[in-house]
Symmetry: C2
Subunit: 222 residues, 2 copies
DNA sequence: TCTTGTGTTATTGTATACAATTATACGATT
DNA sequence: AATCGTATAATTGTATACAATAACACAAGA
């Protein structure tokens, strides 16, 4: 959020930036499990750097909520609880709706075209059962939407939440026919945006996230 | 938010935590102006610590969006643009509504009582023209609301946004009769919550934030 | 056996030293 | 005078050394 309202993590190339991204990925991809303790030296050695950049990365990860630092004790991977997921989807539902409505007014021709291509491709892969591709395309669809709303702040918020529930999402989309269903909903949102119907886009995006959550609960991945 | 989603900044007592809070306050209170460069040694000397905790604090402040770090160059205070304020209020309006609705279900008797006291006191100070107290009470009202929704994540988000627009808010409330108007709206929200009318509370909280924004624009503090 | 105390080890917190990068000053060249 | 290049200084990036704290093992006493 924090929070983290405005800036991206600046540096992809500094040691700190690389360490930060690496640990973040490792947590989200499940390499480090819940409550696992992260030791500065161990991670430093693994990545071939000293403790300093690792520590700085830790401080950032803490603000992102991915680890919890207990002073003089250690850094622990925070779990994501059922309630967290519930709350995030509740918030996301609202903000994603707002985002879709704003996108209706501000989306560029290029973004609209990428969306159309995205939906078209996702249908193909969904029918073939290519879960990995469906997952990637689903992510990308939302990213396009976020970027199209023309609000850095809203975009940042939504990307954060999106990232945060990555683990859960991955499981959901590689399961069941949710991938296809989800894509059909994308298509409808896209159409509303294309028709400049902001209110409809808002409502559809709203419902889309709610359904995604219902599916998560149904499948029982959390 | 980062996104700082879950944890508070853990440590009030470590050097890093103190440095972080100090710089944060100084930025929000306007001690450091927009685009000002923050130098590690200078701040370290001012607070009597070495560069290390200062650097760690910088990394966190960057994620909070309060400063921007340009690699190998420096840390610069980020301004808050007109559009930022607009976007934040738009988002806050939605989330504050959600928060009020949730609070209707989860608020404790103690919190409800503190709210009532808050509104009562604010009326008194508002009529007397005690702007500083009105400002503090207004802040506190929202904090109580955030804590009452029983969602750590939503609470955290809203507190972040609230903090972020602090400068603007202060100017608004010490100006005009907005303080009293605002308090009347608080009273209505409180009543809706007391009556367990979640939908009404949501709508009122929604409008409350929108009006606060309209007032900011009208007064022209940004 | 359980508890408690103490010394040891491991780990984080902070300071500092050195390296890399960037900004600045200033003179040479045109 | 303006521009470029180079040397110098200032600043950040990283590594490491030392201090403070917490975790652990193990023995002494009840």
């Amino acid at each position: 959020m924090e929070n983290s309202v405005k800036n991206e993590v600046t540096d992809k190339y500094s040691l700190r930036g690389r360490v930060f991204n690496r640990i973040r990925e490792d947590i989200l991809n499940g390499k480090y499990s819940e409550n696992e303790e992260l030791r500065e030296v161990a991670i430093g050695e693994e990545l071939g750097v000293s403790r300093t950049p690792v520590r700085e990365a830790f401080r950032q990860l803490e603000l992102e909520g991915l680890i919890q630092i207990i002073p003089n004790k250690g850094a622990y991977v925070t779990g994501i609880t059922k309630k967290d997921v519930h709350d995030i989807y509740m918030i996301r539902s609202l903000l994603e709706g707002l985002c879709a409505r704003l996108a209706t007014e501000h989306i560029t021709k290029e973004a609209l075209e990428e969306m159309e291509e995205n939906v078209y491709l996702a249908k193909f892969h969904g029918e073939k059962g290519h879960y990995e591709q469906v997952y990637e395309l689903d992510n990308r669809f939302h990213e396009i939407l976020y970027e199209a709303c023309d609000s850095k702040i809203l975009e940042h918020q939504l990307k954060d939440f999106h990232q945060y529930v990555l683990r859960v999402r991955k499981k959901t989309l590689s399961n069941s026919g949710r991938g296809l269903k989800s894509n059909e909903e994308h298509a409808k949102i896209l159409e509303a945006i294309r028709n400049k119907d902001g209110e409809l886009a808002e409502r559809l995006a709203n419902e889309h996230i709610k359904k995604a959550y219902e599916n998560i609960v149904k499948i029982g991945v959390i």
